[in-house]
Protein backbone atom coordinates (compact mmCIF):
# COMPACT_ATOMS: atom_id res chain seq x y z
CA UNK A 1 0.00 0.00 0.00
CA UNK A 2 1.36 3.43 -0.96
CA UNK A 3 0.55 6.88 0.37
CA UNK A 4 -0.65 9.40 -2.19
CA UNK A 5 -0.93 13.16 -1.63
CA UNK A 6 -4.19 14.49 -2.98
CA UNK A 7 -3.98 17.91 -4.66
CA UNK A 8 -6.90 19.98 -5.82
CA UNK A 9 -7.86 23.18 -7.59
CA UNK A 10 -10.82 25.04 -6.11
CA UNK A 11 -11.28 26.83 -9.43
CA UNK A 12 -9.72 26.05 -12.78
CA UNK A 13 -7.19 28.90 -12.54
CA UNK A 14 -6.15 28.20 -8.95
CA UNK A 15 -2.79 26.62 -8.13
CA UNK A 16 -2.64 23.07 -6.79
CA UNK A 17 -3.26 22.83 -3.07
CA UNK A 18 -2.80 19.78 -0.88
CA UNK A 19 -6.22 18.48 0.22
CA UNK A 20 -5.05 15.45 2.15
CA UNK A 21 -3.76 11.98 1.49
CA UNK A 22 -4.96 8.45 0.87
CA UNK A 23 -3.66 4.90 0.97
CA UNK A 24 -3.98 2.85 -2.21
CA UNK A 25 -2.00 0.04 -3.85
CA UNK A 26 -1.69 1.70 -7.27
CA UNK A 27 -2.52 4.81 -9.28
CA UNK A 28 -5.80 3.55 -10.77
CA UNK A 29 -7.34 2.68 -7.43
CA UNK A 30 -5.86 5.83 -5.89
CA UNK A 31 -7.64 7.98 -8.50
CA UNK A 32 -10.97 6.36 -7.77
CA UNK A 33 -10.58 6.50 -4.00
CA UNK A 34 -9.34 10.11 -4.01
CA UNK A 35 -12.40 11.21 -5.93
CA UNK A 36 -14.73 9.32 -3.61
CA UNK A 37 -13.08 10.43 -0.36
CA UNK A 38 -12.19 14.06 -1.12
CA UNK A 39 -14.45 15.38 -3.87
CA UNK A 40 -17.92 14.03 -3.30
CA UNK A 41 -19.41 17.46 -2.70
CA UNK A 42 -17.85 19.63 -5.35
CA UNK A 43 -14.83 20.57 -3.24
CA UNK A 44 -12.83 21.32 -6.38
CA UNK A 45 -13.00 21.41 -10.14
CA UNK A 46 -10.22 18.88 -10.61
CA UNK A 47 -7.63 16.98 -8.63
CA UNK A 48 -4.28 15.26 -8.98
CA UNK A 49 -2.20 12.72 -7.13
CA UNK A 50 1.44 12.63 -6.15
CA UNK A 51 3.06 9.51 -4.75
CA UNK A 52 4.47 10.53 -1.37
CA UNK A 53 8.17 11.29 -1.69
CA UNK A 54 8.06 11.95 -5.44
CA UNK A 55 7.51 15.05 -7.55
CA UNK A 56 5.46 13.68 -10.45
CA UNK A 57 1.87 14.92 -10.43
CA UNK A 58 -0.79 12.77 -12.13
CA UNK A 59 -3.92 14.71 -12.97
CA UNK A 60 -7.36 13.15 -12.90
CA UNK A 61 -7.99 12.23 -16.56
CA UNK A 62 -11.73 12.84 -16.40
CA UNK A 63 -12.68 15.47 -13.79
CA UNK A 64 -16.09 16.18 -15.34
CA UNK A 65 -18.84 15.47 -12.87
CA UNK A 66 -16.71 15.12 -9.76
CA UNK A 67 -18.80 15.99 -6.77
CA UNK A 68 -21.81 14.16 -8.16
CA UNK A 69 -24.98 15.51 -9.69
CA UNK A 70 -27.64 14.57 -7.16
CA UNK A 71 -28.13 16.95 -4.23
CA UNK A 72 -26.29 15.68 -1.18
CA UNK A 73 -25.91 18.82 0.91
CA UNK A 74 -27.66 17.14 3.78
CA UNK A 75 -24.75 14.86 4.43
CA UNK A 76 -22.09 17.53 4.63
CA UNK A 77 -20.72 17.90 8.12
CA UNK A 78 -20.56 21.69 7.69
CA UNK A 79 -24.31 21.58 7.07
CA UNK A 80 -24.55 22.21 10.81
CA UNK A 81 -22.80 25.57 10.51
CA UNK A 82 -25.19 28.39 11.30
CA UNK A 83 -27.46 26.41 13.59
CA UNK A 84 -26.57 28.68 16.55
CA UNK A 85 -27.44 31.84 14.62
CA UNK A 86 -30.68 30.26 13.47
CA UNK A 87 -31.60 29.46 17.07
CA UNK A 88 -30.87 33.05 18.13
CA UNK A 89 -33.16 34.36 15.40
CA UNK A 90 -35.90 32.00 16.55
CA UNK A 91 -35.52 33.12 20.15
CA UNK A 92 -35.60 36.79 19.15
CA UNK A 93 -38.73 36.24 17.09
CA UNK A 94 -40.43 34.37 19.92
CA UNK A 95 -39.48 37.07 22.44
CA UNK A 96 -41.18 39.66 20.26
CA UNK A 97 -44.32 37.57 20.58
CA UNK A 98 -43.88 37.35 24.33
CA UNK A 99 -42.97 33.70 24.35
CA UNK A 100 -39.82 32.26 25.85
CA UNK A 101 -39.38 28.68 24.78
CA UNK A 102 -35.88 28.25 26.10
CA UNK A 103 -32.81 30.23 26.93
CA UNK A 104 -29.88 30.18 24.55
CA UNK A 105 -27.50 30.12 27.52
CA UNK A 106 -27.94 29.30 31.22
CA UNK A 107 -28.71 32.35 33.36
CA UNK A 108 -25.55 34.00 34.64
CA UNK A 109 -23.38 32.43 31.95
CA UNK A 110 -20.57 34.72 30.85
CA UNK A 111 -21.36 35.88 27.41
CA UNK A 112 -18.66 36.32 24.83
CA UNK A 113 -19.24 40.09 24.92
CA UNK A 114 -18.86 40.23 28.70
CA UNK A 115 -15.64 38.26 28.46
CA UNK A 116 -14.31 40.88 26.08
CA UNK A 117 -14.09 38.52 23.14
Amino acid sequence: MHIWDVLSRRKDQDPWEVSGSINAPDLDLAMMLARETHFRHGEGTTFALRARGTDAIRECPDPQGIGGVISKEYRRQDGYVGVGAKLKRVHAEMEKRGVVIDRPRPKGHRTREAAGA
Binding site: N23, P25, L33, E36, T37, R40, I70, S71, K72
Partner: protein, 290 residues
Protein backbone atom coordinates in the same frame (compact mmCIF):
# COMPACT_ATOMS: atom_id res chain seq x y z
CA UNK B 1 -51.61 -4.35 -8.89
CA UNK B 2 -53.67 -5.67 -11.87
CA UNK B 3 -55.11 -2.20 -12.65
CA UNK B 4 -51.89 -0.37 -11.89
CA UNK B 5 -50.32 1.94 -14.45
CA UNK B 6 -47.38 -0.20 -15.69
CA UNK B 7 -45.17 2.90 -15.57
CA UNK B 8 -45.50 2.81 -11.79
CA UNK B 9 -44.36 -0.81 -11.72
CA UNK B 10 -41.31 0.12 -13.78
CA UNK B 11 -40.45 3.10 -11.58
CA UNK B 12 -40.84 1.10 -8.39
CA UNK B 13 -38.71 -1.73 -9.75
CA UNK B 14 -35.91 0.71 -10.56
CA UNK B 15 -36.25 2.76 -7.37
CA UNK B 16 -36.65 -0.20 -5.02
CA UNK B 17 -33.56 -1.87 -6.50
CA UNK B 18 -31.56 1.27 -5.75
CA UNK B 19 -33.02 1.79 -2.28
CA UNK B 20 -32.53 -1.76 -1.09
CA UNK B 21 -29.06 -2.33 -2.50
CA UNK B 22 -28.09 1.14 -1.25
CA UNK B 23 -29.22 0.09 2.21
CA UNK B 24 -27.14 -3.08 1.98
CA UNK B 25 -24.10 -1.08 0.84
CA UNK B 26 -24.54 1.28 3.79
CA UNK B 27 -24.20 -1.65 6.16
CA UNK B 28 -20.49 -1.71 5.29
CA UNK B 29 -20.00 1.75 6.83
CA UNK B 30 -17.36 1.30 9.48
CA UNK B 31 -16.61 -2.28 8.42
CA UNK B 32 -15.15 -2.10 4.90
CA UNK B 33 -11.61 -3.48 4.45
CA UNK B 34 -9.92 -0.10 4.90
CA UNK B 35 -10.83 3.51 5.55
CA UNK B 36 -10.72 4.87 2.00
CA UNK B 37 -12.85 2.03 0.72
CA UNK B 38 -15.22 2.48 3.66
CA UNK B 39 -15.85 6.07 2.56
CA UNK B 40 -16.08 5.18 -1.12
CA UNK B 41 -18.56 2.36 -0.64
CA UNK B 42 -20.66 4.37 1.79
CA UNK B 43 -20.82 7.15 -0.80
CA UNK B 44 -21.95 4.70 -3.46
CA UNK B 45 -24.69 3.55 -1.09
CA UNK B 46 -25.81 7.15 -0.61
CA UNK B 47 -25.78 7.70 -4.36
CA UNK B 48 -28.09 4.74 -4.83
CA UNK B 49 -30.52 6.09 -2.24
CA UNK B 50 -30.39 9.51 -3.93
CA UNK B 51 -31.29 7.86 -7.24
CA UNK B 52 -34.15 6.04 -5.54
CA UNK B 53 -35.49 9.35 -4.24
CA UNK B 54 -35.34 10.87 -7.71
CA UNK B 55 -37.37 7.96 -9.11
CA UNK B 56 -39.88 8.00 -6.24
CA UNK B 57 -40.49 11.69 -6.97
CA UNK B 58 -41.47 10.77 -10.53
CA UNK B 59 -43.67 7.97 -9.20
CA UNK B 60 -45.44 10.25 -6.69
CA UNK B 61 -48.33 11.39 -8.93
CA UNK B 62 -48.88 7.87 -10.25
CA UNK B 63 -48.84 6.30 -6.79
CA UNK B 64 -50.58 9.10 -4.90
CA UNK B 65 -47.91 8.82 -2.20
CA UNK B 66 -44.96 11.06 -1.41
CA UNK B 67 -41.39 9.77 -1.82
CA UNK B 68 -40.95 9.03 1.91
CA UNK B 69 -44.15 7.01 1.97
CA UNK B 70 -43.05 5.10 -1.11
CA UNK B 71 -39.58 4.41 0.26
CA UNK B 72 -40.52 3.57 3.83
CA UNK B 73 -44.28 3.36 4.16
CA UNK B 74 -45.09 0.20 2.22
CA UNK B 75 -45.52 -3.36 3.34
CA UNK B 76 -42.73 -5.79 2.36
CA UNK B 77 -44.85 -7.43 -0.33
CA UNK B 78 -45.34 -4.07 -2.06
CA UNK B 79 -41.64 -3.66 -2.86
CA UNK B 80 -40.60 -4.57 -6.44
CA UNK B 81 -36.84 -4.93 -6.18
CA UNK B 82 -34.99 -7.98 -7.42
CA UNK B 83 -34.14 -10.48 -4.73
CA UNK B 84 -30.43 -10.09 -5.45
CA UNK B 85 -30.58 -6.63 -3.86
CA UNK B 86 -31.94 -7.82 -0.52
CA UNK B 87 -29.41 -10.58 0.14
CA UNK B 88 -27.13 -10.02 3.14
CA UNK B 89 -23.69 -8.66 2.31
CA UNK B 90 -21.75 -11.79 3.19
CA UNK B 91 -18.02 -11.25 2.81
CA UNK B 92 -16.32 -8.55 0.73
CA UNK B 93 -15.97 -11.01 -2.16
CA UNK B 94 -19.74 -11.55 -2.39
CA UNK B 95 -20.44 -7.84 -1.91
CA UNK B 96 -18.17 -6.81 -4.77
CA UNK B 97 -19.38 -9.66 -6.98
CA UNK B 98 -22.95 -8.50 -6.43
CA UNK B 99 -22.03 -4.87 -6.98
CA UNK B 100 -20.32 -5.79 -10.25
CA UNK B 101 -23.27 -7.83 -11.49
CA UNK B 102 -25.83 -5.27 -10.33
CA UNK B 103 -24.12 -2.17 -11.71
CA UNK B 104 -23.27 -3.73 -15.07
CA UNK B 105 -26.89 -4.89 -15.40
CA UNK B 106 -28.16 -1.50 -14.23
CA UNK B 107 -26.02 0.18 -16.88
CA UNK B 108 -27.63 -1.90 -19.63
CA UNK B 109 -31.17 -1.04 -18.63
CA UNK B 110 -30.43 2.64 -17.91
CA UNK B 111 -28.77 3.00 -21.32
CA UNK B 112 -31.97 1.71 -22.90
CA UNK B 113 -34.19 3.96 -20.78
CA UNK B 114 -32.38 7.10 -21.92
CA UNK B 115 -34.55 6.93 -25.04
CA UNK B 116 -37.78 6.24 -23.13
CA UNK B 117 -40.91 8.04 -24.32
CA UNK B 118 -41.60 8.86 -20.63
CA UNK B 119 -39.79 12.22 -20.58
CA UNK B 120 -39.40 12.57 -16.80
CA UNK B 121 -37.86 9.11 -16.60
CA UNK B 122 -35.55 9.65 -19.57
CA UNK B 123 -34.27 12.91 -18.04
CA UNK B 124 -33.74 11.33 -14.62
CA UNK B 125 -31.88 8.41 -16.13
CA UNK B 126 -29.47 10.73 -17.93
CA UNK B 127 -28.66 12.37 -14.59
CA UNK B 128 -28.36 9.10 -12.73
CA UNK B 129 -25.95 7.66 -15.29
CA UNK B 130 -23.48 10.49 -14.62
CA UNK B 131 -22.97 9.02 -11.15
CA UNK B 132 -23.46 5.38 -12.05
CA UNK B 133 -20.36 5.45 -14.25
CA UNK B 134 -18.30 5.89 -11.08
CA UNK B 135 -20.02 2.88 -9.52
CA UNK B 136 -19.10 0.90 -12.61
CA UNK B 137 -15.51 2.05 -12.36
CA UNK B 138 -15.43 1.02 -8.70
CA UNK B 139 -16.79 -2.44 -9.50
CA UNK B 140 -14.42 -2.93 -12.44
CA UNK B 141 -11.38 -1.87 -10.44
CA UNK B 142 -12.15 -4.46 -7.80
CA UNK B 143 -13.06 -7.09 -10.41
CA UNK B 144 -9.61 -6.69 -11.94
CA UNK B 145 -7.82 -6.92 -8.62
CA UNK B 146 -9.72 -9.92 -7.32
CA UNK B 147 -9.60 -11.83 -10.56
CA UNK B 148 -5.82 -11.45 -10.71
CA UNK B 149 -5.29 -12.83 -7.23
CA UNK B 150 -3.94 -13.52 -4.68
CA UNK B 151 -5.43 -16.99 -4.67
CA UNK B 152 -7.74 -16.57 -1.70
CA UNK B 153 -9.12 -13.26 -2.99
CA UNK B 154 -9.80 -14.74 -6.43
CA UNK B 155 -11.44 -17.80 -4.90
CA UNK B 156 -13.72 -15.82 -2.61
CA UNK B 157 -14.66 -13.45 -5.42
CA UNK B 158 -15.48 -16.42 -7.67
CA UNK B 159 -17.62 -17.92 -4.91
CA UNK B 160 -19.42 -14.59 -4.65
CA UNK B 161 -20.07 -14.52 -8.39
CA UNK B 162 -21.28 -18.10 -8.30
CA UNK B 163 -23.72 -17.34 -5.50
CA UNK B 164 -25.01 -14.10 -7.02
CA UNK B 165 -25.17 -14.67 -10.75
CA UNK B 166 -28.36 -16.73 -10.81
CA UNK B 167 -30.32 -14.09 -8.92
CA UNK B 168 -28.68 -11.34 -10.97
CA UNK B 169 -30.45 -12.70 -14.06
CA UNK B 170 -33.74 -11.86 -12.36
CA UNK B 171 -32.87 -8.17 -12.48
CA UNK B 172 -34.32 -8.58 -15.98
CA UNK B 173 -37.43 -10.39 -14.85
CA UNK B 174 -40.36 -9.42 -17.05
CA UNK B 175 -42.22 -6.46 -15.57
CA UNK B 176 -45.96 -6.43 -14.95
CA UNK B 177 -47.56 -4.84 -18.01
CA UNK B 178 -44.31 -4.98 -19.97
CA UNK B 179 -46.04 -5.44 -23.33
CA UNK B 180 -47.83 -2.13 -22.87
CA UNK B 181 -44.65 -0.42 -21.70
CA UNK B 182 -42.89 -1.54 -24.86
CA UNK B 183 -45.82 -0.63 -27.13
CA UNK B 184 -45.89 2.88 -25.62
CA UNK B 185 -42.12 3.28 -25.94
CA UNK B 186 -41.73 3.73 -22.19
CA UNK B 187 -39.48 0.67 -22.16
CA UNK B 188 -37.60 0.86 -25.45
CA UNK B 189 -36.48 -2.79 -25.36
CA UNK B 190 -37.82 -5.90 -23.66
CA UNK B 191 -36.26 -7.20 -20.45
CA UNK B 192 -35.35 -10.43 -22.24
CA UNK B 193 -33.55 -8.44 -24.92
CA UNK B 194 -31.63 -6.44 -22.32
CA UNK B 195 -30.75 -9.65 -20.48
CA UNK B 196 -29.23 -11.00 -23.70
CA UNK B 197 -27.02 -7.92 -24.05
CA UNK B 198 -25.86 -8.02 -20.46
CA UNK B 199 -25.22 -11.73 -20.44
CA UNK B 200 -23.24 -11.59 -23.67
CA UNK B 201 -20.96 -8.88 -22.31
CA UNK B 202 -20.65 -10.55 -18.90
CA UNK B 203 -19.73 -13.87 -20.49
CA UNK B 204 -16.94 -12.21 -22.46
CA UNK B 205 -15.47 -10.50 -19.39
CA UNK B 206 -15.63 -13.66 -17.30
CA UNK B 207 -14.01 -15.73 -20.04
CA UNK B 208 -11.17 -13.26 -20.29
CA UNK B 209 -10.60 -13.65 -16.56
CA UNK B 210 -11.03 -17.46 -16.80
CA UNK B 211 -13.99 -17.17 -14.45
CA UNK B 212 -16.72 -18.15 -16.90
CA UNK B 213 -17.16 -21.46 -15.09
CA UNK B 214 -19.33 -19.57 -12.58
CA UNK B 215 -21.95 -19.26 -15.33
CA UNK B 216 -22.01 -22.99 -15.91
CA UNK B 217 -22.29 -23.85 -12.24
CA UNK B 218 -24.42 -21.04 -10.91
CA UNK B 219 -27.02 -21.98 -8.42
CA UNK B 220 -29.77 -20.38 -6.49
CA UNK B 221 -28.48 -18.67 -3.35
CA UNK B 222 -29.68 -19.88 0.04
CA UNK B 223 -32.84 -18.71 1.75
CA UNK B 224 -36.31 -20.08 1.43
CA UNK B 225 -38.72 -18.12 -0.77
CA UNK B 226 -41.65 -16.87 1.25
CA UNK B 227 -44.38 -14.42 0.37
CA UNK B 228 -44.11 -11.37 2.61
CA UNK B 229 -47.22 -9.45 1.69
CA UNK B 230 -50.61 -9.54 3.30
CA UNK B 231 -51.58 -12.29 0.90
CA UNK B 232 -52.72 -10.05 -1.91
CA UNK B 233 -49.78 -10.81 -4.14
CA UNK B 234 -50.56 -11.58 -7.70
CA UNK B 235 -49.45 -15.11 -8.49
CA UNK B 236 -46.38 -14.78 -10.68
CA UNK B 237 -44.53 -17.38 -12.71
CA UNK B 238 -42.89 -20.37 -11.11
CA UNK B 239 -39.94 -19.37 -8.99
CA UNK B 240 -37.08 -20.90 -10.89
CA UNK B 241 -33.76 -19.45 -11.84
CA UNK B 242 -33.57 -19.28 -15.62
CA UNK B 243 -30.97 -21.42 -17.34
CA UNK B 244 -27.83 -20.48 -19.16
CA UNK B 245 -26.24 -22.13 -22.10
CA UNK B 246 -23.21 -21.54 -24.27
CA UNK B 247 -24.14 -21.32 -27.95
CA UNK B 248 -21.98 -20.11 -30.81
CA UNK B 249 -19.22 -18.92 -28.46
CA UNK B 250 -21.63 -16.83 -26.44
CA UNK B 251 -23.44 -17.30 -23.15
CA UNK B 252 -27.18 -16.99 -23.66
CA UNK B 253 -30.31 -17.29 -21.61
CA UNK B 254 -32.32 -20.35 -22.59
CA UNK B 255 -35.96 -21.20 -22.24
CA UNK B 256 -38.91 -19.21 -21.06
CA UNK B 257 -37.85 -16.39 -18.76
CA UNK B 258 -39.37 -17.24 -15.41
CA UNK B 259 -37.97 -14.57 -13.17
CA UNK B 260 -37.76 -14.84 -9.49
CA UNK B 261 -40.80 -12.97 -8.25
CA UNK B 262 -39.19 -9.80 -6.93
CA UNK B 263 -40.94 -7.61 -9.50
CA UNK B 264 -44.26 -8.97 -8.25
CA UNK B 265 -43.58 -8.46 -4.57
CA UNK B 266 -42.25 -11.87 -3.59
CA UNK B 267 -39.22 -11.70 -1.37
CA UNK B 268 -37.18 -13.81 0.98
CA UNK B 269 -36.90 -13.81 4.75
CA UNK B 270 -33.78 -11.70 4.29
CA UNK B 271 -35.93 -8.78 3.18
CA UNK B 272 -38.21 -9.13 6.19
CA UNK B 273 -35.26 -8.43 8.50
CA UNK B 274 -33.97 -5.58 6.33
CA UNK B 275 -37.44 -4.01 6.04
CA UNK B 276 -37.94 -4.08 9.82
CA UNK B 277 -34.76 -2.10 10.32
CA UNK B 278 -35.05 0.20 7.30
CA UNK B 279 -38.58 1.36 8.10
CA UNK B 280 -38.48 1.24 11.91
CA UNK B 281 -38.25 5.00 12.47
CA UNK B 282 -40.81 5.83 9.82
CA UNK B 283 -43.31 3.39 11.30
CA UNK B 284 -42.67 4.63 14.83
CA UNK B 285 -43.03 8.33 13.97
CA UNK B 286 -45.15 8.56 10.81
CA UNK B 287 -44.63 11.81 8.92
CA UNK B 288 -41.43 12.69 10.75
CA UNK B 289 -39.05 14.95 8.85
CA UNK B 290 -35.36 15.45 9.41
Amino acid sequence: MPDEDPRLGLLLALADDELVIGHRHSEWTGWAPYLEEDLAFSSIGQDEMGHARLLYEIAEPLAGKDPDALALGRQPGEYRHAILCERPNGDWGYTIARQYLYDTADDVRLAALESSSFPELAAAVKTIRLEERYHLEHARQWFTRFSQGPVEARQRFAQGLEAAVGEALALFETLPGEERLIADGVLPRSSEDLLGDWLGALGGVLEEASLDWVLASHEKAGGEMVPTSSGEIEQGPTLTVPGLERRDDRWVHVGEFAGDGGRRGKHTEDFGVLWEEMTALYRKIPGATW
